[in-house]
């Protein structure tokens, strides 16, 4: 199938084989019905950076679906397919899941093979899943998880069977999540977060309490450092991973009389602005004299973030936060303000830096669009604890009675 990664440099390119994750889906009887839109090379948080089109949010077509895997989230949200795959480097599965009112899961780094995933930032990229229920997300993520000899960073850790733990809600005890300790990340419910979102998350937390969880506030002191560290690391690795797009072996080539021009023109004409900007910044960050100040420094911050999570996850079974500081915003609203766009990743990037798994489950709505806009609850667990997260998410979802997470346009088309 044509694989463009949302970019003109790969327009028309057909890879010689399936990615490992896709191959596993097919081996287990899955039917691939199509491919979806995304921000170019995964760089973006709204799918507006796709070279081909902007995807609309099924809840309000004047708004973004989130990104970079906005297309996959929207497709599931609009019930065009049952489940879909996306990639999450800094929140690209979780934030669109929140914007589109669907379930999104980001597994532990190394849980799912990256072979065949067009690389953006190698030490941060993971393949994740979208679904309209936690159980479906669990089944899909289980199918694609496991060690792959084609990916040296894939983990040999056993994958437990977590597909048979999704019990129907009438089998639940009265306090099904009794004994679970939940940490509410203080830094995610303050300045810069929409009040309506905070309310939704607090309500979700109260719901967890009803289910038997014990709640406590937890602080991650390095929280705010994660965003700049993430961006330095991601763009540095990206500038390297995108060096192969030179028009020589595959992809679009702009003919020229001289090598430098061939490379330069092929890349200049092929890449979009956001990608070019990140490549330039990443190249700068890695260049002689700057490596220590930027890349190395960012890796050190990364270690701090990891340690803070580790400490918090000893005291708590999982942590919760919003998946985004707001609900879906209007198309075009942040496109010309990259920093504002980046700031929207604050809820999700730290999880990628730490390599931890996280599940986003729709938990409520906020006003703002032509219809209410969904908000997702992010649950973060310790490494390789996808099974536990899914179990909690399933119970949460099945007991959340007052909300209907089918977008109006879908509901309408079903009614008619």
């Amino acid at each position: 199938m044509e694989t463009t990664a949302g970019s003109r440099v790969l327009e028309g390119w057909r890879p010689p084989g399936d990615a490992t994750a896709v191959r596993r889906v097919r081996e287990r009887g899955g039917i691939v019905v199509g491919k979806t839109n995304c921000d170019e090379f995964g760089m973006g948080s709204s799918t507006e950076n796709s070279a081909f089109q902007v995807t609309a949010n099924p809840w309000d077509e004047s708004r973004v679906p989130g990104g970079s895997s906005g297309g996959s989230a929207a497709a599931v949200s609009a019930r065009q397919c049952m489940v879909s795959l996306g990639s999450d480097t800094g929140g690209s599965v979780r934030q669109p899941a929140s914007f589109c009112g669907v379930v999104g899961i980001k597994p532990t780094y190394g849980r799912v093979s990256r072979y065949g995933l067009v690389a953006y930032a190698s030490s941060l990229d993971v393949i994740g899943c979208f679904a309209s229920s936690v159980a479906d997300a669990g089944i899909l993520i289980h199918a694609i998880s496991g060690h792959d000899r084609l990916d040296a960073t894939s983990s040999k850790q056993e994958v437990p069977d977590f597909t048979s733990q999704f019990m129907p809600s009438d089998s639940f005890e009265s306090k099904p999540l009794k004994g679970l300790r939940v940490g509410v990340i203080r830094e995610t419910l303050g300045d810069g977060v929409d009040q309506a979102v905070i309310s939704s998350i607090n309500a979700a937390a109260a719901h967890l309490e009803d289910l038997g969880c014990s709640l406590a506030e937890v602080s991650l002191p390095s929280f705010s450092l994660g965003l700049p560290a993430y961006y330095v690391l991601a763009i540095s690795e990206a500038s390297s991973n995108l060096s192969r797009y030179d028009g020589i072996r595959y992809g679009n080539q702009v003919l020229a009389n001289e090598l430098g021009a061939l490379y330069g023109d092929s890349r200049a004409k092929g890449f979009g602005d956001e990608v070019k900007m990140r490549i330039l910044m990443g190249t700068y960050a890695l260049s002689a004299g700057y490596y220590d100040a930027y890349y190395k420094r960012a890796q050190q911050v990364r270690t701090m973030v990891k340690n803070d999570f580790k400490a918090a996850l000893i005291e708590h079974d999982f942590l919760i936060s919003p998946a985004a500081p707001s609900a879906a915003y209007k198309i075009g609203e942040k496109k010309n303000d990259p920093l504002a766009m980046y700031a929207g990743d604050i809820m999700t990037v730290n999880v990628n830096l730490a390599g931890l798994p996280a599940l986003v489950v729709p938990c409520g709505f906020v006003e703002g669009g032509s219809s209410p806009l969904p908000v997702g609850l992010q649950m973060i667990g310790s490494a390789f604890s996808e099974d536990k997260l899914l179990k909690v998410g399933h119970v949460f979802e099945q007991t959340l009675k007052d909300f209907n997470f089918v977008p109006p346009l879908v509901a309408d088309s079903r009614a008619s």
Partner: protein
């Protein structure tokens, strides 16, 4: 090495150093053809661990012109490892395949492809590191070295930057006898693992180039020497010893023509008493050890001459190409400072962690290295020239070892190996292992000659049979009835027969033409079908003739 002599002289400009004192054209040292001339005795002393400038290491041959200058030479060698598959994918690693037939998404750098390390690369790297007496890094990693070029599919080369798998170490080299001999120790700075790039084939008219990625991803070890060499010969010998070493270890076929051993050389000169190093010039396109030698010598003279003319500032840090045709180095590109490769740790690969057990097992499996073998052969009493020739090829040396293990005299075994056997191998283009002669039979042959069962002449004939068709000495002797005739009575009969058949010549001999003895000897030998003992034959013949 040999061609440095005549070719160099004709083309070099006048100001260069005087001719080395050779009286005959010597064969290239590392082919198996020795003369039986005795080499001057070589000092058995081990030199001091490498120091740049002192005393006893001063080369005693070609570069007398450098009385007031000293050359500092360092070499970077890339060795292609003879693993079955490439460094980071399972593509076959073999030379000479049709272009772009040994490729896959990984080594092509397709989107989504990931490298996975071939563990044999580590094994070979540790092997070489140990053989070079280096210190191994038990925790090393890979880094990305980034630059753009069409033969580099990913736009970066997976290499090792700040933590190479091996650091430090040294290699001991014996300089060829004809070029002054001597033993040198050259330091090694580091050894690291990396992948090779593809190949570009340029069209004749320069309008286009084509990319062949068969070689992309082939594993390499890069060996960087300390700047310890002082002459072209030392540098060439260092290269040759590395080649010998990687072949001994079985980690590479070390073939310069195929590109599995590539050397880039750095040369600078400085006035003898100046502590600061001069400007370093890199030389590429060196396709043989003799080219290394000649290129360095040329470059040294070029730089020294510029110094002498007060134009030392014209020596710039640059890369020059060695032109085989004109026998000079020419500017390829000027280095605008150092390239910035934007190194950072390769995130797609895990850290390389060695265990003591792993390293110990490899250490135990190391074969006897060339240097040790040469010292052992010296102790056997062989002359240096023979030592160097024998120890050059591990398979030949092992054949020799097996032969003397059966009791053969080392000197005689050497002679057979280096002359007749070597000539056969060269002629038929076979290796010692393809020759049908076995060490046991060679030992048997030597013993049979020594104890007089057969004559030396017959021995040579038998040898040809053994080499080409195999069999045993004993068998052939019996089959062809080749036992030497030692019975004086029998020989006398034959002498009489020949003399009586040639009365005219006898008359002539007795009249003063003593040279006819050879004629009679030849006839008698023919009569005996080559089996007569030559000494006895001539003794009896002379007796009869002078009677």
């Amino acid at each position: 090495m040999a061609s440095l002599l005549s070719r160099g002289f004709q083309i070099r400009p006048v100001f260069l150093y005087p001719l080395p004192l050779f009286t005959k054209r010597v064969p290239r040292v590392f082919y198996c053809k020795s003369k039986s001339t005795e080499a001057p005795t070589i000092t058995q002393e081990k030199p001091l661990p490498s120091q740049n400038r002192s005393s006893s290491q001063k080369p005693n041959t070609s570069l007398n012109v450098l009385q007031d200058y000293e050359a500092i030479i360092g070499i970077e060698t890339h060795v292609q490892l003879s693993t079955l598959s490439k460094a980071f994918c399972s593509c076959p690693n073999n030379y000479g395949a049709q272009p772009n037939t040994n490729i896959c998404p990984v080594c092509m750098g397709l989107p989504g492809a990931l490298p996975v390390l071939n563990s044999k690369v580590i094994e070979f790297a540790v092997k070489l590191g140990l053989a070079l007496n280096s210190e191994l890094s038990f925790n090393s990693k890979f880094d990305r070295k980034q630059y753009f070029y069409p033969d580099l599919p990913k736009g970066y080369q997976i290499s090792q930057f700040d933590i190479p798998i091996a650091k430090g170490g040294y290699i001991d080299v014996d300089l060829p006898v004809e070029l002054g001999g001597g033993n040198r120790r050259f330091g090694i700075t580091r050894v690291h693992m990396e992948e090779d790039a593809g190949k570009l084939l340029h069209s004749d008219n320069g309008t286009d180039s084509q990319v062949d990625l068969n070689r992309a991803g082939v594993p390499l070890l890069e060996i960087v020497s300390e700047p310890d060499m002082r002459t072209g010969i030392e540098a060439a010998e260092y290269g040759a010893e590395l080649q010998r070493l990687v072949r001994y270890l079985g980690v590479s076929n070390g073939n310069m023509q195929e590109g599995s051993l590539r050397c880039d050389v750095n040369v600078s000169v400085r006035p003898i008493d100046q502590p600061k190093f001069g400007t370093k010039v890199e030389i590429k396109n060196l396709n043989s050890f003799s080219a290394i030698n000649r290129a360095i010598d040329y470059e040294i003279s070029r730089q020294v001459e510029l110094h002498r003319q007060g134009q030392a500032d014209q020596i710039v840090q640059e890369t020059r190409l060695w032109e085989e045709g004109s026998q000079k180095t020419v500017t390829m590109r000027k280095k605008e400072g150092l390239a910035d490769y934007r190194y950072f740790p390769e995130p797609d690969l895990l850290e390389v962690i060695l265990t003591e057990d792993f390293v110990d097992n490899i250490r135990k499996s190391l074969p006897e290295l060339p240097e040790m073998r040469r010292r052992r052969y010296e102790k056997l009493g062989l002359n240096m020239q023979d030592v160097l020739l024998l120890a050059n090829d591990r398979t030949v040396a092992e054949f020799f070892d097996a032969t003397i293990a059966k009791g053969a005299d080392p000197k005689l075994a050497t002679n057979w190996l280096m002359s007749d056997i070597a000539a056969y191998m060269k002629d038929k283009k076979v290796s010692i292992n393809e020759v049908k002669l076995t060490p046991t039979e060679l030992a048997e042959l030597i013993a049979s000659i020594q104890n007089g069962t057969i004559s030396g002449k017959i021995g040579k004939e038998i040898l040809f049979g053994l080499i080409a068709k195999g069999g045993t000495v004993e068998g052939i002797i019996k089959e062809k009835n080749l036992v030497q005739i030692l019975d004086p009575v029998e020989i006398e009969k034959m002498v009489d027969k020949v003399l009586s058949a040639n009365p005219t010549q006898v008359e002539q001999y007795r009249g003063g033409k003593t040279k006819l003895q050879a004629f009679f000897a030849g006839q008698i030998m023919k009569e005996s079908k080559g089996k007569a003992n030559p000494g006895l034959l001539n003794k009896i013949l002379l007796e009869k003739l002078n009677a």
